[in-house]
């Protein structure tokens, strides 16, 4: 589904990603964990096209998209829930969802999918006319996920969906991510909350100061001493 080969990204003189390679297979949930500043968000933003790589390749379903602008990647089935949610606060919940379907032309289908999002997140249905900025943090996160789903992505990139949320809500959001995956969307999940992420992931990569240091299945990493010490507080 997604293949990243030897990706390097620089911010000025800072070498943010060093030869990062990873793959996500169809139907999987893959998680990328690591400390603050390890390069997780940079990796996602490079995949979605918001940042240009200095070298390396991003391949989506066999197609090299390394130099494709971000909007065209959405057309190819990539959708990102950005860090910090980045919903459009002055617009209503409904308008946010409609923007998620910006590239789609099937009016009926869009309507149906909006209803589907309301089923997935009933609170969004109740607040459809409210401006998104008035929602709580958890509701905004739901809206950000719903909005990303509106483009009917085949690969969903999630950047820190648990950030700033109460533990109960975090569990709910992860439950939803599992559901989205079981409905057929492949998921690449970036998280600081390593234990939650590993518990739902098929496979995981650990990023440290711009390089991938460990990889394995979710269970393997849960049991690994190094991960226990560094990320799970064991």
């Amino acid at each position: 589904m997604l293949e990243i080969k030897n990706l390097n990204v620089h911010y000025g003189v800072i070498h943010a990603l060093k030869d990062v390679s990873l793959t996500v297979d169809k139907g999987e949930i893959v998680t990328l964990i690591g400390a603050n500043g390890a390069g997780k968000t940079t990796t996602l933003r490079t995949i979605s096209g918001l940042i240009k790589a200095t070298s390396g390749q991003v391949i989506l379903e066999g197609k090299d998209i390394t130099n494709l602008p971000a909007p065209q990647r959405v057309e190819l089935g990539l959708s990102q829930v950005p860090e910090g949610r980045r919903i459009f606060p002055e617009m209503t919940v409904l308008e946010n969802l409609e923007l998620g379907a910006f590239l789609r032309k099937d009016k009926q289908g869009i309507k149906k999918d909006i209803e589907h999002i309301y089923e997935l997140f009933p609170i969004l249905g109740d607040r459809r006319k409210q401006t998104a900025g008035t929602l709580s943090g958890g509701e905004q996160q739901m809206l950000a996920i719903g909005r990303a789903l509106m483009s009917k992505p085949r690969l969903l990139l999630l950047d820190e969906p648990s950030m700033g949320l109460a533990p109960l809500l975090v569990r709910e959001i992860f439950e939803i991510i599992k559901n989205i995956n079981s409905e057929g969307t492949t998921v690449l999940l970036v998280e600081q909350n390593a234990s939650m992420a590993l518990s739902i992931a098929n496979r995981a990569y650990v990023l440290e100061t711009g390089s991938i240091v460990i990889t394995g299945t979710g269970e393997e990493l849960m049991k690994s001493d190094r991960i226990q010490k560094a990320y799970l507080g064991g």
């Binding site: 602008p69 459009f88 002055e90 923007l99």
Partner: protein
């Protein structure tokens, strides 16, 4: 009282023209955070295009208005493509200085081609005067206000109901997030310049009719005043620009009407200083606040 009402009528006509220009400032600012100082000159060129269409091609009011709007839309997009787009990602001051450069360029290129002398607009609309009590309203004023209001309603429709308008709002709120929706930012910016410039073109034709005279430097003062109108309304805010334009127009005619016409520009600029001290975000401006 009659005097006051009369000046209100005059002020609303002038104000709707300022409002049309202010909309372009505010839209462009909203989307790329640039005070496009060349905007007043697009308005001037719009006035000349209307002049050419009516004088040489003998067209009527409506076709002249539409031609001027279309030509200015193209001009606005061209300016953006050539002067501002290469500077995307550079500092705001660099783009601002470029805008001043574009402004001077348009003024003096125009002067080179059409000469510096003032030209008088042909009479396009009958100038019948209606009496409302002791207040006089002429047909030109009615045309100006009706045209301006129609355009503003059209703009509200575009911005709130069409896909293009939603894309414009999304890009102005959060450019990266907009890209993640599949919105092409460059195209959206280009369309914003087209619409803003078309409105300036319309204002140019209306002013030509109202004041009956145009010259290559006519864009400077109204440009600045429309900018003040946009700041007063809250820069980046579309209804704010409309209200601001009306307010500046009315303020100016009231000051002139009561015999202080020498000070009318000073009053408007003093007003800008007051806004910047008292409410820098403007009447309807957003309070910048973040929710975590």
């Amino acid at each position: 009282m009659d005097q006051f009402m009369q000046q209100m009528v005059n002020g609303i006509s002038l104000g709707s023209i300022y409002a049309l220009i202010a909309l372009g400032y505010t839209m462009v600012y909203g989307i790329i955070k640039l005070i496009n100082f060349a905007h007043g000159d697009v308005y001037m060129i719009g006035a000349y295009i209307g002049f050419a269409a009516t004088t040489y091609a003998q067209l009527g009011f409506l076709p002249a208005l539409l031609i001027s709007m279309a030509a200015c839309a193209v001009l606005g997009m061209t300016i953006e493509r050539i002067a501002y787009k290469p500077l995307r990602g550079s500092t705001r001051i660099a783009v601002l200085i470029t805008a001043i450069g574009v402004s001077l360029f348009l003024e003096y290129v125009m002067m080179f081609f059409v000469g510096a002398e003032v030209r008088s607009y042909p009479v396009l609309l009958s100038n019948k005067v209606f009496h409302l009590g002791n207040v006089l309203i002429n047909t030109q004023q009615i045309y100006i206000v009706v045209t301006a209001i129609a355009l503003m309603i059209l703009l509200q429709f575009i911005v709130h109901k069409t896909k293009t308008g939603k894309a414009m709002r999304a890009v102005s709120i959060d450019r990266d997030a907009a890209q993640l929706m599949g919105i092409k930012v460059d195209n959206t910016i280009s369309i914003t310049f087209a619409i803003g410039s078309a409105f300036a073109g319309a204002a140019g034709v209306l002013v030509g009719i109202y004041y009956n005279s145009i010259d290559p430097l006519m864009g400077i003062m109204p440009g600045l005043k429309a900018f003040i109108a946009a700041v007063f309304g809250g820069i980046g805010n579309i209804p704010g620009a409309m209200i601001g334009g009306m307010a500046i127009g009315i303020m100016e005619t009231l000051v002139s009407g009561y015999g202080y016409s020498l000070y009318r520009d000073a009053v408007v600029f003093a007003f800008l200083i007051l806004i910047l001290i008292l409410k820098p975000s403007g009447l309807l401006g957003k309070n910048i606040r973040e929710k975590v």
